[in-house]
């Protein structure tokens, strides 16, 4: 099922759709407030984009540097070609350490790899500790946003879920109460965990350490209690030196939620005393994207979520309508690069308004990428029959000026006198939820000619 079908379910409840739209727009506005306080904001974006581009173009060098320096500091580096190998490495580490209970903080990569179901199948209890992720985990849903995993849920729904799983008071859906209950529930999990898994926001080649940013403190708590800490990262997470962090830490939280920085920005260059820190570096298709000059920029993403918050399509269709691990503009381009056939509707989940490109802290030209993916979808013959036919006819009409004038004239004269039942018949998918505007008497061309006289 493609994006339009899934989105139509979401928009069927228009009150809820507007609520979702507003919630995300609120986050976007907070981002604007934060960024407008810095005169150097655009300069920061430029530098971030150059750092990322530079690093991607020498990625092998920086990854080897990272490996060398991390190993020197006593960290263990693993390499995984794909999701399967990543999951096996993680499982193997857990088994050799006798770990049965694992706490995990937010990591879109482990989502991408399907780590949770894999570990569960192998008898490991894995608990997501980010509040939003815990909520969706209990509900057996996927995160609907990369920074705000439960943004699609109302507090009443969260209350019900907690009633069922955490025995909270009936019908109490006060966010503070629910958060406190989750804190208690997860404290217990932290204290009894045998191992922790975290994502990685940045890996520093020069110093051989990784940086993890959270607001809740869940990554830190997890990584500082059990002896085994496994951090999973995509190959694109590496940056050259510590000082590049001065740019990224200034951009990340401001772009994500409008905060000046995340509550915790932790630099791991050692395991806890007597513990082990393992880092799994995952490719899973990323190195292929590097070769494509049209799409390689998508690897510059720092996963702030700003492009989701600003996207008019995302805000009104919800994260689950994309059917890909990462929703929104960045997910649509990554998904299409990964598997064009499976994700062929995603490049069209876009109005080409370019708002995403304007907010992206790494200056990824997301809308250009989606536009190019569309062309590839057409070239690969993956467009639906109806759309293909419409495009064929309209491009033929547009190539013939006289015909175009004539069609325009007929439409202007005929449509206004047609009964509604015909104009908004089933065949007119465009007319679902939209009103045809009032047609002008004369075409632009006619008006232009008259003016010139």
């Amino acid at each position: 099922m493609g994006h339009p079908k899934k989105a139509s379910k979401f928009v069927a409840n228009s009150k809820r759709m507007h609520w979702h739209d507003k919630a995300l727009w609120f986050v976007r506005e907070r981002r604007d407030l934060a960024t407008h306080q810095l005169d150097e904001w655009e300069e920061l974006r430029r530098v971030a984009s150059e750092i990322k581009t530079h690093t991607m173009d020498r990625l092998d060098y920086y990854l080897e540097e990272f490996e060398k320096n991390a190993t020197q500091k006593g960290l263990h580096i693993h390499w995984a070609r794909d999701a399967k190998e990543h999951n096996e490495i993680v499982l193997n580490l857990l088994l050799t350490h006798g770990a049965k209970r694992v706490v995990k903080s937010k990591s879109m990569l482990t989502e991408e790899c399907g780590l949770n179901p894999f570990l569960e199948k192998n008898g490991i209890e894995i608990v997501d500790t980010d509040l939003g992720e815990r909520i969706v985990q209990l509900r057996k849903e996927a995160p609907s946003h990369i920074v705000l995993p439960a943004i699609h849920l109302k507090k009443e729904e969260v209350g019900k879920t907690f009633e069922e799983f955490l025995n909270t008071q009936k019908d109490n859906c006060d966010p503070t109460y629910l958060t406190r209950e989750a804190r208690k529930h997860l404290r217990e999990k932290f204290l009894t965990a045998d191992a922790s898994i975290t994502g990685v926001n940045f890996a520093i080649a020069q110093t051989g350490g990784v940086v993890v940013c959270t607001n809740e403190g869940n990554a830190d708590l997890g990584a500082s209690l059990p002896k085994l800490h496994i951090a999973s990262m995509g190959i694109e997470k590496v940056i050259p030196r510590l000082e590049e962090l001065s740019v990224f830490t200034r951009l990340l939280a401001r772009s994500a939620t409008g905060q000046p920085i995340t509550t915790y920005t932790s630099h791991f260059h050692a395991p806890i005393e007597g513990g082990e820190l393992h880092i799994v570096i995952v490719d899973n298709g990323r190195s292929d994207t590097l070769s494509n000059s049209d799409f390689k920029e998508s690897l510059n993403c720092i996963r702030c979520g700003a492009c989701l918050n600003t996207c008019p399509v995302y805000r009104r269709s919800g994260g689950h309508s994309y059917g890909y691990t990462i929703p929104g503009p960045i997910g649509s381009t990554l998904g299409a690069s990964r598997d064009l056939q499976a994700n062929r509707t995603l490049p069209f989940a876009c109005t080409l308004c370019a708002s995403c490109s304007n907010v992206c802290p790494s200056k990824i030209k997301l809308h250009n990428q989606l536009y190019r993916h569309r062309q590839n979808v057409v070239k690969a013959g993956l467009l639906g029959a109806k759309k293909r036919a419409i495009l064929k006819v309209s491009s033929w009409v547009m190539k013939h000026p006289l015909l175009l004038d004539f069609v325009g004239l007929v439409v202007r004269k005929v449509v206004p006198i047609l009964p509604r039942s015909i104009v908004y018949s089933k065949a007119n998918i465009w007319g679902r939820g939209r009103e045809v505007p009032k047609f002008p008497k004369k075409s632009f061309k006619e008006l232009y000619k008259e003016r010139k006289k």
Binding site: V27, L63, E85, T179, D220, S224
Partner: protein, 193 residues
Amino acid sequence: MSSRETILNSIKKNRPSSTIELPNTDISHVKYRDRDKKFATTLKSVGGDAVWLEDKSVDEFVAENYRDLDVIVSTYLEFNGSTKDANELETPHLLEDVDLAVIKGEFAVAENGAVWVKNPKNHHRALYFLATRLLIVVDKNSIVDSMHEAYKLIDFSRAGYGTFISGPSKTADIEQALVIGAHGAIEVCVLFV
């Protein structure tokens, strides 16, 4: 071929050869006329407090402001009010009951209310996250404008752990309602001495 080689080879084969140099990160940036004030208001906005200690010791400050707490632990050497020694504990799990941790911060950042905490002498970093309240003691002359200055002061030539802490832990995962106190500290005060 090992996965390592496969991945590195694939990158070598696919990556373009760049013409873009690593840019200078030290761009011209915001400076605050009153860094103390900027730090305090920013920290306030993220749920924390900043206090400047005048003619009083940290011991006295704690005695006055944190009454009736059972377990107080400190990694700040000049503080004498600890009820147990964290470094003596066999496992970090035993810090679960800490009501107040008095810790040392290296410096503070005005633009975002963060304090850099890195203390190789502290055996259990879990202390920073398990304690219900954090009192971070920082030298009053150690406030910098922004992260550009901050990273000049950070060194990881040796193994270790360090973190920026900006206010108490928080979440807005339930309907965007901000709740202070997620998994880490519920209260954070930065004390300048």
